[in-house]
């Protein structure tokens, strides 16, 4: 039967989350096929073929898949996925957008955001913003699953030599079209892939003050994130939000600056290896999860931190 893994990519390179999903697939066991759907995505397909543990790469190269429109991608994945025991999709905004469509088309109850594989049909997943972990068993013949990248190590990006096969299914559902996109450009690492993340909260007071965090981040090779409060207040754009409804990160080091630590924020970062909190309110809940807490005014502490690292 085998497992179909949907690759997240930008047509030329494979996005990191795909590698974690391949590891989840390997834990389930079975031949792993990776589907690369896009427009002009040959380079991404070649990269996918090199991922360790992948036996086959399917490439659907067509205008219909160029912008990952859910209506078109879901039809493709549901059509191809019928022949597999599991369809694994990264729990990114792209994956979360189309995966439930695939599940509905296959009459399957999707299992969202798994963090462990217990067996081929049993998985653990967080519910209630990570305040409870459910162990669930699926009885669907094709299991449609989204995978939370932080739950699994990344598979090696090199070392594999999978065969690459073109898929000639190409259908445009004709109900939606891409208009435009506005993507943040940054030389810093991606939030979900960074080894160090430094995030600012409402305590930052305004967007200009995030400059202090960028300076520290550049010294540490870190990504910069934010709490929902900071995004809602307009300090920084939405793609920086860490939390239950933003990005889920689990870096080696997470530095929370001026973040109180609402449960919705903790849901997005509490699996980090080491957590540092700098906040002037010593009662802030963030200190309950921090390995190292510093009660201090961030406007003194952050420039000092930049100097000392």
């Amino acid at each position: 039967m085998g497992i179909l893994v949907y690759a997240e990519h930008d047509n030329s390179t494979i996005k990191g989350a795909t590698l974690n999903v391949v590891t989840a697939a390997a834990k389930i066991g079975g031949d792993i096929t990776v589907l690369v759907a896009g427009k002009g995505c040959g380079a991404a397909a070649e990269a996918a073929a090199k991922i360790a543990g992948v036996s086959k790469v399917l490439v659907a190269d067509n205008d219909a898949y160029g912008h990952q429109l859910a209506e078109n991608v879901a039809d493709l994945v549901a059509e191809l996925g019928k022949g597999y025991s599991h369809i694994l999709i990264p729990a990114t905004t792209t994956g979360k957008n189309f995966a439930p469509r695939v599940a509905a088309l296959l009459d399957a109850e999707q299992i969202s955001e798994i963090i462990t594989v217990e067996s081929a049909d049993t998985f653990k997943r967080p519910i209630y913003a990570g305040n409870a972990i459910a162990t669930v068993q699926s009885s669907d013949s094709v299991k449609v699953i989204t995978v939370r990248a932080t739950g699994f190590d990344a598979a090696a990006a090199e070392g594999g030599s999978a065969s690459v096969e073109a898929v000639d299914v190409a259908k445009d559902a004709g109900v939606s079209s891409f208009v435009s996109e506005e993507l943040a450009k940054s030389d810093r690492p991606e939030l979900t892939a960074a080894k160090v993340v430094i995030s600012g909260g409402r305590g930052m007071q305004n967007g200009d003050n995030f400059e202090m965090l960028y300076k520290v981040a550049d010294k540490l090779g870190a990504a910069v994130g934010a709490s929902r409060a900071a995004v809602d207040a307009g300090f920084v754009p939405n793609d920086m939000q860490v939390g239950q409804t933003g990005k889920i990160v689990a870096p080696q080091l997470y530095i929370a600056i001026g973040i109180s630590g609402a449960i919705q924020h903790l849901a997005g970062m509490k699996d980090s290896k080491v957590i540092v909190a700098i906040n002037k309110d010593e009662e802030a809940p963030i200190f309950q999860v921090a390995d190292y807490g510093l009660v201090a005014d961030l406007f003194d502490a952050v420039p000092e931190l930049e100097k000392q690292i």
Binding site: T94, I127, A132, T135, S176, A184, V196, I275, A296, L305
Partner: protein, 249 residues
């Protein structure tokens, strides 16, 4: 045009939930319940579209127990014109909910269905997309802006890298993200008026939907607790700990 707004009754977002001692689930006894925050944003968006003259009627709908009438009344106090309770005692899963909503869509023929992008209990983020697939509708998920233009709707979506804008043919499904709008509070006169607005009740059987979940929940546990570490006195001590003790920088 008609708008359908499916909503969900969930644990209030301020409540810190506890896992039951027998690991069968989360303890919901005597816990404050409320409308899912993303559903409030969905209701608000529908009301704003009505205020702009784009929408003529707003129908709120939910799948749940009798108690969920409370959230339907809230939706009507916020501006929904009428509501439908699809009553079940089962722990209904997104696929079955989407099938029930499909039956309502076929009956009511809304041009737009606006839902929250996820419920904060199950954190599934599935129902809107599933409904769109089952009805063949286009979808605009995680919306931060919704503009209806003739027989189309333009939806700006919050995606990992920033924003993406798509154009959808109506009828379409939209799921709301946090920054689509700031929901209003219901005024006392509107709460009183909502009590007189129509609330119909139907069952899963009426719609031909079985709400018994197929996926078995074997157990529910508390996450591994993370204990508070130590307080450091200075930036210097912090940097030293990170370098020499945690060895992360």
């Amino acid at each position: 045009m008609k708008v359908l707004v499916p909503i969900k009754r969930v644990v209030d977002y301020n409540v810190k939930v506890r896992v039951k001692a027998d690991n069968t689930g989360v303890d919901l006894a005597n816990v404050k319940m409320a409308m899912n925050p993303f559903c409030e944003i969905a209701v608000e968006e529908a009301v704003r579209l009505k205020e702009k003259g784009v929408v003529t009627e707003i129908i709120a709908v939910t799948v749940g127990s009798k108690a969920a009438q409370e959230q339907l009344r809230t939706a009507m106090a916020l501006g929904a014109d009428r509501s439908i309770l699809i009553e079940t005692e089962e722990d209904a899963q997104p696929l079955a909910i989407a099938k029930a909503l499909k039956a309502i869509v076929e009956k009511e023929q809304p041009q737009l269905v606006i839902l929250g992008k996820q419920a904060i209990d199950g954190d599934n983020s599935q129902t809107g997309q599933m409904l769109a697939a089952l009805t063949g509708m286009a979808q605009g998920t995680f919306a931060s802006e919704v503009v209806v233009e003739g027989d189309k709707v333009k939806v700006t979506r919050e995606v990992d890298g920033g924003f993406q804008t798509v154009e959808l043919k109506l009828p379409a499904v939209v799921t709301t993200d946090l920054r689509l709008n700031e929901p209003r509070y219901a005024s006392l006169p509107n709460i009183m008026k909502a009590k007189k607005k129509p609330l119909d009740t139907v069952s899963g059987a009426d719609l031909g939907v079985d709400f018994a979940p197929r996926t078995k929940t074997l157990k529910v546990e508390a996450p591994a607790a993370r204990s508070a570490g130590i307080k450091v006195a200075s930036v210097e001590e912090l940097v030293s700990k990170l370098k020499n003790e945690a060895k992360v920088i």
